[in-house]
């Protein structure tokens, strides 16, 4: 296992922008399609942390794993306990006029990343998202 990057961020839009830039650099060894899939999933979780967690800080670790070759993103924050895997999926068949704005981010994470695990550990939310490389 190789750690491609590991940083701590402030729970602000500036912190989010910095994490996005760092992740893009860390994922340079990864194919374009897989990099974009990871960037999307990460953005969904970044946004949740910055907007809703009330965390003092949050961290992102990017790991490259062998057998199977995959990328793992480990996100932690010291905010309010929140298990995204325990949320109910939104109704994706609703008509446009009835659709709530938003609520799709966690669904995207669940459908594109595997495995996804959550735990509350030492006062922090720890979310791990994997993506197999082709």
């Amino acid at each position: 296992m190789i750690t491609l990057s590991e940083h701590t961020y402030e729970p602000t839009m500036e912190g989010l922008a910095k994490a996005t830039a760092d992740l893009e650099v860390a994922l340079e060894p990864v194919s374009a399609k897989e990099r974009m899939t990871l960037m999307i999933a990460a953005d969904e979780i970044f946004a949740n942390i910055v907007r809703y967690s009330k965390a003092n800080d949050w961290t992102l670790k990017v790991e490259l794993l062998d057998a199977p070759r995959s990328v793992r993103l480990v996100l932690t924050d010291d905010g309010v306990p929140f298990d995204p895997l325990a949320t109910r999926d939104p109704d994706t068949t609703m008509a446009v006029e009835d659709r709530p704005i938003g609520g799709m981010g966690i669904l995207i994470v669940k459908k594109t990343m595997s495995p996804v695990t959550y735990e509350r550990k030492d006062g922090r939310n720890v979310l791990t998202m994997g993506l197999k490389m082709n």
């Binding site: 374009a32 960037m39 953005d43 969904e44 994706t92 006029e97 799709m104 995207i108 594109t112």
Partner: protein, 98 residues
Amino acid sequence: MEITNKLEDGKTVLSVVGRVDTTTAPELDSTLQGLTGSETLIMDLSGVPYMSSAGLRSLLTAQKKMMAGGGSMTVVGIQPVVKEVLDITGFSGILTLG
């Protein structure tokens, strides 16, 4: 992100270049806020490699505005990763894709 607004044969063509995510979507939102809702809007996403749900929120807001204002919105130039996100969330079925 770069957004170009062009009037072409009576249609408003918004061309977006760059990723649409939490960082960049506010810029798209502010451009969309400048629309009246009565336009025939062509949203050209051929320069958008990927979009997170922040971008979907922008598209849904625009779609609702166009419906309310009597205009229309057609989304064209959808790249594969954007299409995947539209399919997962059911947005392929609620947007007019060209």
